[in-house]
C-alpha cells in the first residue's frame, strides 16, 4: 500500500514535468487558434527547431542554459513570424481546409528541411546541469525536472501577465474576440497576429530546449508526437483558452505518467488519444470551454 502511494506521487512528479512541456506547446496552439482559427500543425516542428537552436547555442556558442533558452526562444519567434508571413497570411481569406493543408505542408517542410540541414541522426543534448537527485522523503525528483517545472512556471506567469495586463495583450484578446471591432479601435491586426506567432513559437521553443535537457536527445522528427499531444492538451482544456492549455497539458502529462507507471508505457499514447476521443464525444468545447457548436 505504502509503495503504491509512493509510486503514485512519484508518477505525479514525472507527469507534471512532462505535462508542463505539453502545456508550453499547447499554449501556442491555443493562442494561434484563438486569433486566426488555425490549427497550426507546424507548431510541433517549431518546438523541434527550438530544441536545435538550444543545442547549437550550447554546443557551438558555448552558452549556458539561460542564455541558450532565451536565444532559442528569440530565434523561434522569428521563425514563427516568417512562417505566418509567408505561408498563412496570403491564405487569410481562403477556405479553412486550404489553410489547414498549408499548415501540414509547412510541417513537412520544416521537418525535412531540418533533416537536410542537420541530418536525420539524433543529437545528444549536452548536459547543462549536473544531474542531481533530490529526495523529498520517499520521493525523488532530479534537477532536470525541477528546471522544467520552474522554467515552465516562470514562462506561464510571464505569458499571463502579457495577455492580461499589457496593452499588447489586450489587443490580442480583442482581435481574438472580434477582429473587425478590433480594427475599428485602430488595432493593426497583422501586427497582433505576428506577435501571437512570436509568443507561441517562443514558448514552444522553450519546451524544446527543456525536453532536450530532460531526455538528452533531439532529432528532426521529435516534434511530431509532442505536437499532436499538445494539440490534444489544447483541445482538452478548450482550444483558444489560455488557462485551458496550461491545465490540459498538465492533466495529459499526469495521465500519461500514471498509465506508464501503473499499466505499461506502451499504452501511454493510446491514453492520450483516448482522452481526445472522450473529450470530443462528451465535452467538445473542452474542460474550460462553453459548449457552443462550431464547425471546423
Amino acid at each position: 500500500m505504502d509503495t503504491l502511494l509512493q509510486q503514485f506521487f512519484q508518477q505525479l512528479i514525472n507527469g507534471i514535468s512532462l505535462g508542463s512541456i505539453y502545456a508550453l506547446i499547447a499554449l501556442g496552439y491555443t493562442m494561434i487558434y484563438g486569433i486566426i482559427k488555425l490549427i497550426n500543425f507546424a507548431h510541433g516542428d517549431i518546438y523541434m527547431i527550438g530544441a536545435y537552436f538550444g543545442f547549437f547555442a550550447t554546443t557551438q556558442l558555448g552558452l549556458g542554459f539561460i542564455p541558450a533558452i532565451i536565444l532559442s526562444m528569440a530565434g523561434a519567434a522569428i521563425v514563427g513570424i516568417i512562417i505566418e508571413r509567408v505561408a498563412y497570411r496570403p491564405m487569410r481569406n481562403a477556405p479553412r481546409i486550404a489553410i489547414l493543408i498549408t499548415a501540414i505542408g509547412v510541417s513537412f517542410f520544416l521537418e525535412y528541411s531540418m533533416i537536410l540541414l542537420v541530418s536525420p541522426q539524433p543529437r545528444t543534448f549536452p548536459a547543462v546541469f549536473t544531474p542531481t537527485v533530490y529526495h523529498f522523503g520517499p520521493l525523488v525528483a532530479n534537477s532536470q525536472q525541477l528546471v522544467i517545472l520552474i522554467s515552465a512556471l516562470i514562462l506561464m506567469v510571464a505569458l499571463s501577465y502579457i495577455v492580461n495586463s499589457t496593452k499588447a495583450g489586450k489587443a490580442m484578446r480583442a482581435v481574438s474576440f472580434d477582429a473587425d471591432a478590433a480594427r475599428l479601435m485602430g488595432i493593426n491586426i497583422d501586427r497582433v497576429i505576428s506577435m501571437t506567432f512570436a509568443l507561441g513559437s517562443a514558448l514552444a521553443a522553450a519546451g524544446g530546449v527543456l525536453v532536450g535537457v530532460y531526455y538528452n536527445s533531439i532529432d528532426p522528427l521529435m516534434g511530431m508526437m509532442p505536437g499532436l499531444k499538445a494539440f490534444v492538451a489544447a483541445v482538452l482544456g478548450g482550444i483558444g483558452i489560455i488557462p485551458g492549455a496550461m491545465m490540459g497539458g498538465i492533466i495529459l502529462g499526469v495521465v500519461e505518467a500514471m498509465v506508464s507507471g501503473f499499466l505499461s508505457s506502451t499504452f501511454r499514447d493510446a491514453a492520450a488519444f483516448g482522452i481526445l476521443i472522450l473529450i470530443l464525444l462528451y465535452k467538445p468545447a473542452g474542460l474550460l470551454g462553453k459548449n457552443v457548436r462550431e464547425k471546423v
Binding site: K167, K170, A171, R173, A174, F177, D178, D180, A181, A182, R183, L184, M185, G186, I187, N188, I189
Partner: protein, 234 residues
C-alpha cells in the same frame, strides 16, 4: 469633412453599393436612412476601411482615404460604432474603454476623457468593472458609443444606434448624439428609425438597394410624400 464620390462596392459577385455619393459637412449631423439590405452598413464599412470600393473615391479632411486600412483611418479621427455594438463582451467596461483609446498615449488626456465619458454615461460608471457581455442592450450601445468617443473622433459613424432599444432609451441615445455633435463632432448616422433620425439631422440621404434615391435637408425629407409613405409610416 467627408465626401464619398461615386463608390461601387461588391461582396463577391453581389453588387451591394451602386455608385453612391455623399457629402458630410463639418459640424453637422447627416442621416442615412433606408430599409433592410439597402446597403447602409456596407457604406459605413467602406468608409471605415473595412471594405474596399471597386471604383470611386472617399475624401476625408481633404485627404484621399480610399483603400487606407481600417486601423489607420481611426488614427485620423474617423471612428465607427458598428451595427450590433460589437463590444468586447469578454472584457470589462473599463477594458473596452481603454481599447477605444488604443492609439493614444497621452495618459492624462485619456483619464480626462474617461471622466467625461462617465459623466455622459453615468450608468457605465456604476458598471465599470462589469464584464460587458452581461450589460443590457442599451448599456452595450452606450458602451460602444463611449468606447468610440475615447478615440476623440472628429467624425463619428453610427450604425443603427437605436436598434432593439425601448423608446425611452432611444430618446436618451438620440439626446446623447445631439450632445456629442454639439461638442464639435460631426456625425454620420445610419438609421431605420427615420423619424428619430430626421428629427436630429441637418441633412439626410435615402438609400434603396444600393442607390441614393432622395437627398435634401432633414426638414425637406421629413415632409416629402415619398419618405413619409416609405419610412415614416404614412
Amino acid at each position: 469633412m467627408l465626401r464619398v464620390e461615386d463608390i461601387n462596392v461588391y461582396y463577391g459577385a453581389i453588387h451591394a453599393i451602386k455608385g453612391i455619393s455623399l457629402d458630410v459637412p463639418d459640424g453637422e449631423i447627416v442621416a442615412l436612412i433606408g430599409s433592410n439590405g439597402a446597403g447602409k452598413s456596407t457604406t459605413l464599412r467602406t468608409i471605415s476601411g473595412l471594405m474596399r470600393p471597386k471604383t470611386g473615391r472617399i475624401m476625408y479632411d481633404g485627404e484621399d482615404i480610399t483603400g487606407v486600412p481600417a486601423h489607420k483611418i481611426v488614427g485620423k479621427g474617423l471612428c465607427q460604432v458598428p451595427e450590433g455594438r460589437h463590444v468586447f463582451a469578454n472584457m470589462t467596461v473599463m477594458e473596452n474603454l481603454e481599447l477605444g483609446a488604443y492609439l493614444r498615449s497621452d495618459k492624462d488626456g485619456i483619464a480626462k476623457d474617461m471622466e467625461a465619458v462617465f459623466e455622459k454615461f453615468p450608468r457605465l460608471l456604476e458598471r465599470k468593472d462589469q464584464i460587458s457581455g452581461t450589460l443590457s442592450g442599451g448599456e452595450q450601445q452606450m458602451l460602444a458609443m463611449a468606447r468610440a468617443l475615447m478615440s476623440r473622433p472628429k467624425l463619428l459613424l453610427l450604425d443603427e444606434p437605436s436598434m432593439g432599444l425601448a423608446p425611452l432609451l432611444v430618446k436618451e441615445i438620440f439626446n446623447i448624439i445631439k450632445e456629442i455633435n454639439a461638442g464639435g463632432t460631426t456625425v454620420l448616422l445610419v438609421e431605420q428609425n427615420a423619424n428619430m433620425a430626421l428629427s436630429i439631422a441637418d441633412k439626410a440621404y435615402v438609400l434603396e438597394t444600393g442607390r441614393i434615391t432622395l437627398s435634401g435637408t432633414a426638414a425637406e425629407l421629413a415632409s416629402s410624400e415619398e419618405v413619409r409613405k416609405a419610412y415614416l409610416g404614412g
